[in-house]
Amino acid sequence: MDDATAKQFLERFPEAKPRESLDYKAYDVPADKLVEVCRVLRDDFGFTMLTDSTAIDWGEETSPRFTGIYHLFSWLGARYVRIAANCPDDAAPALPSLVELFPIANWQERETFDMFGIRFTGHPDLRRILMWDDYPYHPLRKEFPLAGHDGDLPAADVAEATKAKVIPAPMMGGPFHAPQKDHMSKREPRGADQSWNEAKPKPCSKD
């Protein structure tokens, strides 16, 4: 988005706040204005393709906790714009769905729902897409451990017959980088998750 269109856009939506960005123009918009903003961007500003939509989880102790991120692309000058909307509720996060405007949002929002547990109001078919339907967790939330939780296999009859379970991933020795908390001189390189090793058994789910 160039400066002239950005000015027009801000005149149209004074509630859109410029968002910090290292590349394209980016705006924070209120969740209830999201659909309207995207419709105007699509119809009046030429941003016809929703090229990517995702979310960020800022962590359990942050509020607002979830932010939806949308990248729209325009062939007029091959420009991008980034739209961000915070989920108003941290416990039951929800955003309005963009399926009416962009059919691709159907799958993209299913993925965001699957990974973050953000519900999209107005979505016609909000099912999990990458994980199986009964999977109880949302893996891209920050509190979900890298190794995963143990749990049941997707097919109940297979689990019954084999007694097999989903177990946390064996992560012996890696990933190998320093926890990025204090100053660099105060820490030494070690695995990110050091709570278990050969001597101590793997951690399982919280229960």
């Binding site: 910090e20 960005s21 290292l22 590349d23 394209y24 980016a26 016809t48 393709m49 929703l50 090229t51 990517d52 995702t54 960020i56 989880d57 991120i69 990248h71 062939w75 091959a78 991008y80 980034r82 962009f102 059919p103 691709i104 159907n106 799958w107 993925e111 990974m115 999990r128 897409i129 990458l130 994980m131 199986w132 893996p139 891209l140 979900f144 890298l146 995963g148 890696g174 990933p175 190998f176 980088h177 320093a178 990025q180 660099m184 390189p189 990110a192 998750d193």
Partner: protein, 413 residues
Amino acid sequence: MPATTKEVDMQDVAARGADYGEELHGEEMTLNMGPSHPATHGVLRLRLKLDGDFITECDPVIGYLHRGDEKIAENMTYNQFVPYTDRLDYLAPLANNVCYAIAVEKLANLEVPPRCQTIRIICCELARISSHLLGLGVYGMDTGAMTTFLYTFTEREKLYSLFEELTGARFTTSYTRIGGVARDIPEGWLGRVSNFLNQFEPKIDELDNLLTRNKIFLDRTKDIAIISREDAIAYAFTGPNLRASGVDSDLRRDRPYCGYEDYDFEVPIGTVGDAYDRYLVRMEEVRQSVRIVRQAIDKMPEGPYFAEDAKKIHVPPKAKVLTSMEELIQNFMIVTEGPQMPAGEVYFEAENPKGILGFFIHSKGGGVPFRLKIRAPSFCSLSILPKIAKGLMMSDVPVVLGSFDFVMGECDR
């Protein structure tokens, strides 16, 4: 009793297919296709509802190859993630490596030297040739032309030998680093690439002769799964699939990265948007890639192959690490802490063989991304299946899937 002849009018089969309406003609049958099926190119599963041979409903089930790449990326340094990008579109790992490296360099606001850029362009275009060769060969096989597959794989084998010489691996190359590439091109490698291209051009003509005017191939692909411009954009189609629908779009030309603006190439565009157009566009792209690689070989500049002044991002050469104190520390810090990045968010998209691969990175500073999102072209291409599969025949499914040229590693991440 004397034999009599009875004439039966079969009418036009294709026209009957086109006239197929909403009305159910026979008993409805549910058919499960995949996740292990040769025509689904990996682990795609389709839940199909059939009325005779016609599809009334299609529900793609994906996620069988989901490995949680985005979660993994949040837990490792930028350079450690490079091998994971190989496994996205595993038919063009070099192109993924380059796209990821440019995305992170954009975050660091780092310019790589011209030699590095030219090496990367050769990598991208050779990866495109390799990926399209597989796409075309397997597409031929999907429509019953086994021979083409053997022809294209012979050529891919030669490309893999070149990749092996350049990167040390045939398949999972992990060639780029943030701020450069892993090592310089070997002695005489450019000459061997040039030799490959010289013998490759007649081979691509041969493939063209085998397939493009093949009657069976034409019958099976023409006017199958026509995707309009509007649909292609609405479903965020990219790359050859989008161009086949008549949208004149190529990020290499429209938003040049890596110095693509200095190269001379054409962007092929389809007119109808059917499965045959998607084949034609890929075939032409292979020829254009050959052109680009030739130009890159001619202009390969001398100089460093990584950004030497980016002290906190790219590791120094091994010889210096072993002899100099400062470089030793630099090497140690980058390997253990990761390349040091500023805080902020960037989004970068590159024109990959399968479409536009994008990386969205939110950084809070330091060597590990806070959030990394991968925008996968195959994911978007497959999302249109429930819409277009309706009314197609069962035997069209392999053709449609083959024409999309998707990769599940990238779709499921």
